[in-house]
């Protein structure tokens, strides 16, 4: 204070109008020591029941998967997590290379050529993808599947409404849950900017007509956007192999814990096509060399698309993203490698199939409702049991089992149905326990 010639700190706030100054202390708790903070936070959080306390069969956009220890320790390197966006590339080579490798691995698993270094989550990535397609094609309609996560759809509406984009849903085959291709053919037109499909679909089934859909979409000059759960891509055909122009998805399963639904990791990839690349939202890292051309290095590329340079003409407003989650995913994919991804996919397929077979044996339970192949999620219907999905949920909870997501309201046409999820984290005992509990519950009188 002496050096800058002031007697009191208040002098530095002299230009704040007197009438606005806060004349009291903020109404907040008193300062606490680290030990007290720890105890209090632990006590509050101990009111939560976790996957450790009971098997939880929830998915629907955020999934329980195992996070290897080496992923956790890597992203705890403080040089990485206490750094900012790599605006000084020479000082941030570590983060930049890690993000470049993340982009590269996303390209490998999706069979695309370009990826950005993250969006907030799947839902916002979808919003940005549909906006991007509209900018690129100068068209204003998007077709989405009727079977879609309602919150993802709602986010898409929020993102696209200001641009005047019209969203229309394409129905599904009630037998199989597959996209109704005839309905798509009727609805697609020269006004369609993009068509969006998910694989696996929201209700778990694998969309096998992807190639045909792609042909129809491209036949109308529209862009084909595919949404993925990346952990399925060790066993499922990558969207780049069936004509996707843009791939979005939720990267959380790749090495990021559930954290009550955030932070998540929005995957965003596209083909190597300058028309697409110039419209890409968000940051992307490129490989380059030193000015003298001698050494390979990394820096952010195509910054002229971004808000800090292009301002209101930017391709997106995104600045802070989910970089550290992207690094976690890169470490995860590097640890698993090609064979690990395949084996993990197969293990999930097996366990989910096992759960479906076990539950299907229970009187009155129908699972899955669609005659299609399923990855890790599947519908369980209770119409023939005389109990509602909510009722079943309540009774399962009493038995320390958390059932799937009740979708009776989301899809009234599917009746009393819940969406269950089984991953490599569920043991055989967990699944057996679910089946036994369900059996007992359904024998109970309502």
């Amino acid at each position: 204070m002496r050096r800058i010639g002031i007697q009191s700190i208040e002098e530095l706030y002299a230009d704040v109008p007197q009438r606005f100054k806060l004349k009291r202390r903020l109404d907040l708790p008193s300062p606490r020591s680290e030990q007290e903070v720890k105890r209090l936070v632990e006590t509050i959080l101990s009111k939560n029941k976790t996957f450790k306390d009971m098997p939880i069969f929830l998915g629907a956009g955020c999934w329980p998967h195992y996070v290897p220890a080496a992923v956790e320790t890597t992203i705890q390197r403080t040089e990485l997590f206490t750094s900012y966006t790599p605006y000084q590339p020479e000082f941030s080579q570590g983060m930049l290379q890690a993000l470049f490798e993340y982009q590269s691995m996303i390209c490998e698993i999706t069979a695309m050529e370009v990826a950005n270094c993250s969006m907030y989550d799947w839902a916002s990535a979808l919003g940005e993808a549909v906006r991007m397609a509209a900018r690129l094609t100068h068209r204003t309609k998007v077709l989405i599947p009727k079977i879609i996560h309602p919150e993802r759809k709602a986010t898409l509406e929020t993102y696209t409404e200001p641009m005047g984009i019209r969203i229309e849903s394409v129905g599904y085959e009630s037998e199989t849950g597959q996209l109704d291709v005839e309905d798509l053919k009727t609805k697609i037109s020269e006004k369609t900017a993009s068509v969006y499909v998910e694989n696996p679909a929201y209700l778990g089934s694998i969309e096998t007509q992807a190639e045909d859909i792609s042909e129809i979409v491209h036949g109308h000059g529209a862009l084909f956007i595919v949404g993925v759960d990346p952990i399925s891509l060790g066993v499922l055909k990558p969207p780049g192999e069936y004509g996707a122009d843009i791939v979005v998805g939720e990267g959380q399963p790749l090495g990021n814990p559930m954290n009550y639904g955030g932070p998540l990791l929005g995957i965003f990839a596209c083909r190597d096509d300058m028309r697409l690349i110039r419209q890409l939202p968000g940051r992307t890292v490129g490989m380059t060399s030193t000015v003298d051309g001698k050494t390979r290095g990394f820096c952010m590329a195509l910054q002229t698309r971004e808000q800090h340079i292009r301002r209101e003409k930017a391709t997106s407003n995104i600045c802070s993203n989910e970089s550290l989650c992207a690094v976690a995913s890169a470490v995860y994919l590097a640890l698993l490698g090609p064979r690990g991804m395949r084996e993990l996919g197969e293990a999930i397929l097996c366990k989910a199939r096992y759960a479906m077979q076990l539950l299907a044996k229970i009187d009155g339970v129908t699972t899955p409702m669609f005659k299609s192949a399923h990855f890790k999620e599947f519908t369980v219907n209770f119409d023939q049991t005389g109990k509602t999905a909510l009722d079943v949920h309540e009774r399962l909870l009493q038995r320390q089992v958390h059932g799937g997501k009740n979708i009776a309201k989301e899809f009234p046409e599917l009746g009393e149905t819940a969406l269950y999820c089984v991953t490599e984290k569920h043991s055989k005992e967990d699944i057996d326990r679910l089946a036994l509990a369900l059996e007992a519950i359904l024998e109970e009188k309502s």
Binding site: I9, V16, L22, R25, L26, P29, P31, V37, V41, E42, I44, K47, N48, T50, L58, G61, C62, A70, Q76, R77, E79, L80, T82, Q88, E90, F91, M95, A98, S104, E108, Y120, W122, H149, E151, A154, T158, P162, I206, K237, G261, P263, G286, M287, T290, D292, T295, Q307, H308, E312, S320, E322, S323, C325, A334, L335, G337, G340, M341, Y354, L397
Partner: protein
Amino acid sequence: MFRQARWDERIIFELGRSGRRGCTIPKVKKEIQRVVGDTKAFVPEKLRRKTFPKLPELSEVEVVRHYVRLSQMNFGVDSGFYPLGSCTMKYNPKIDEVLAKLPSITLIHPYQDERTVQGVLEAMYRLSRWLAEITGTHDVSLQPAAGAHGEFLGTLIMRAYHKLNDEPEKRTELIVPDSAHGTNPASGAMAGFKIVVVPSDEDGCVDLEALRAAVSERTAGLMLTNPNTLGIFEKNIEEIAKIVHEAGGLLYYDGANLNAILGKVRPGDMGFDIVHMNIHKTFGTPHGGGGPGAGPIGVSEELEKFLPIPRIVFDGKRYRLDYDKPYSVGKIRGFYGNVGVLLKAFAYILGLGAEGLEEVAEISVLNANYIMKKLEKIRGFCLPYARGRPRKHECVISAKKLYKETGIGALNVSKRILDYGMHAPTVYFPLIVDEALMIEPTESFEKEELDRFVEVMKKISDEAYSTPDVVLEAPKNAAITRLDEAKASHPKTMALSWKMYLKKSKR
């Protein structure tokens, strides 16, 4: 002498060897296999992946070593002084990290029955109440994932507000000052507004006359950072609020610089209707090399009904999620927000309390003014706008004179700072300052560190006048020498993935 680690670290795809594994997947039990049969049959031929993804094949130790080396070629707040203006690179308390790793937060699912997640709902509810108190707003939504996401939400709320007043077609213009962050106009444009830019006056503040001329019945609102990006408090804020409100617009507060005024003055009290906070700036959560952050939004009582669903509510006994909000702008993301980040802010505020937060503001402002006084005396640098007026948490100096006299501008200065083992300030922003260096020391660094930075700036000035080549050739001590950034963006040489690089190098 500072030297950043310089590993000749290859791309991960070039490491390892075919067949190596970094982790194993638990074998599916025989009992399960027996029941389900052959997995091949589970996926229809048409959708089966035929070839393995070309991921790297490494052992666990190879993976770990690779990323440890990469981390050593990265500079964070824990590595040293990081005066990146507008980014508030403060220390991230380690206890917050420890708490955010508790299984009682990491292992809970967002669709769990509310009765099984009372702990996290309580923490989030209390945090939202504290943030409302800190910003002087009525209610806070924790959902936005970042500051810009909060801005997008804020401008959508403006839209919804005017729509409800039957003015959606009319209120098409959003005003931003020329000193605003790039996200402001970008967010407004995303929400469908036409951006109108108002110039700054000679003090670097909003030009009141220009603002009066800019507002009209088309004005939806004004987005303002206060203290602004020059670190100067908009002393005419009362008048600004009056002009905007009388024109029927809403006032939006960009919270990037909230650190300077914690416990001193509240945006809500100044007349702001919508406020975003950057949790990763003001409330001590790490920036993660670019994210994840969190950008909660606080709003006035009148605007509460527009906040995204669901809202966390408390009936005195239980916390629950309320989806019944007919006026809500809807959803802006999946689930409820970056809870893992927000929990760290909960612990941060719990530790500091009201007194601690106020001290944060005071010391950050004191540090900025201390540095400013010392820097403006250095040859080649000057302090544009409002000389003699105190700055808040950051100051912007111009290297215009240095550039004129030596050919060394802000970019070269910033690269040379790296050689001395410090991160550079933000450069070339705000746009209204030539050769800008935007310096935000935060409260986290001691006087000795600030003095060392001033010493470094003096040295660089001397070098610019005596041995300009050492500055022009900087950095020499970073992990790599100056990079060719244009090459990374040129269509011919652009490589945004390993695959793309291989494809281009084959040609």
